[in-house]
Amino acid sequence: MINFKEVNETNQMIENENLDVRTITLGISLLDCMSGDLEVLKKNIYEKITTLAKDLVKTGDEIGAEFGIPIVNKRISITPIGLVGSGACKSTDDYVELAKTLDKAAATVGVNFIGGFSALVSKAMTRADELLIRAIPGALAATERVCASVNVGSTRTGINMDAVRLSGEIVKATAEATKERDSLGCAKLVIFCNAPDDNPFMAGAFLGVTEGDAVINVGVSGPGVVKRAIEGVRGEGFEKLCETIKKTAFKVTRVGQLVAKEASKRLKVPFGIVDLSLAPTPAIGDSVAEILEEIGLEKVGAPGTTAALALLNDQVKKGGVMASSYVGGLSGAFIPVSEDQGMIDAVNAGALTLEKLEAMTCVCSVGLDMIAIPGKTKETTISGIIADEMAIGMINQKTTAVRLIPVIGKDVGEIVEFGGLLGYAPVMPVNEFDCSRFVNRQGRIPAPIHSFKN
């Protein structure tokens, strides 16, 4: 039988160390909604989402209350709209119409984000994919809850540099289209390499075409729990440090597995995966940066940061994998800037630069995330940063992503406030040397030699 100590430990994690289930994400396939008629397509999409997800929020809240653990977000991921709208959408305006339908459906069922205004173009773009990508700025400006993503590369296909070039333009255009709100639209736009089909975390969630009709994916978190646990092994060797992180990740993930199975049972939707990520929030003590500092760094960005993050990311995976029957999504440590108070402090202290963050993305779970840069940054420079990040993903066979916010009207040293879970961020300097001759080359970067495994 469960004892006092164990009950106290769990409740301590929840009450004082910000342990939570970050998201229950219901994946919904929209492939069977497709039609050549835009009005029919909009109706099909709205009806399918509002029917399948009608009890999602209520069920999530009930599970949270019964287990006594916060389930912070209830969200929806859908089939990439670039595919779903390919028959009906003849213009960017048609795609914006679809985005509004998604926004309305999300509002009706009460979820805060719906992800999947996406295109998968790692090798080349269809006309429909290109229309969708060009519709992103208008779609993100016209909606509240819609999240967009573009997969522009993979280890198997190489990098679609035409899509990378276009993405740089689209990031900048999205910033312009939402400049009244500090270019907030860019916080809902992710450019990927090796995007997973089952990621439950926004803004990059979509339901891949390899998935079934509907699926429950759950994202767990708990940087605060890991930090507190390793405070207990300060000064000890790496063996003890790693064991402690693994054990903690195991415990956190078990909660995610429990919630995922319960949600699956109640919603009568198959369980997909648990994404065992350390996802920070701006709340005090909910920071990945603080874990790295507890490991032994004065500030994140100091020499040793990449090694410490590599260690952390790997132990989180090792501990978590055994705790869940199916692990997927992004799984690892996220290193967003605006969503992590420790990262913000490190930037303000001059310890953390964009270049160091890029190095860290070689070993973290995703990529350059929630980084505010000067609004005057050129499109080609943004494309260059995206290309670098995609190359890291392609060569290392990992997911990488870019979520940059060129804040229109703001420059280095100024602060941009996004609010809520998105936090706030200091605008960081970008290397201004030109790369336009590189990104303006046409075509794609071939797949790397180690992709030929057949």
Binding site: M1, I2, N3, F4, E6, V7, N8, E9, T10, N11, E62, A65, E66, F67, G68, I69, K251, R254, V255, Q257, L258
Partner: protein, 90 residues
């Protein structure tokens, strides 16, 4: 069996256990295991109960206990046992 864990934390005084247990008895909730300790003047109690044959639904019991805690001057939480079981047992 529908096992739940009730935790009670607060400043010690007369009648905390009685208050909680009377409520449980009145509502057909069976106590399977109970332990209690005082640490630095603070009362800590944990009870494992079976709600299978209880008169009320989980959310009602949970709400009632919260109100009761307010009346006695302690914090009472009620959670399904699986969260602890899954986290601490293979």
């Amino acid at each position: 069996m529908k096992k739940c864990v009730i935790t009670v934390v607060g400043k010690d005084k007369v009648g905390i256990i009685a208050g909680v247990c009377n409520y449980l008895a009145d509502n057909g909730i069976n106590v399977l295991d109970i332990s209690q300790t005082i640490r630095d003047g603070f009362f800590n109690m944990m009870a494992i109960v079976d709600m299978e044959n209880g008169a009320k639904k989980f959310d009602e019991v949970s709400r009632d206990l919260e109100v009761l805690g307010g009346e006695i001057g302690v914090t009472i939480h009620c959670q399904r046992e699986e969260i602890f079981e899954k986290m601490h047992r293979l």
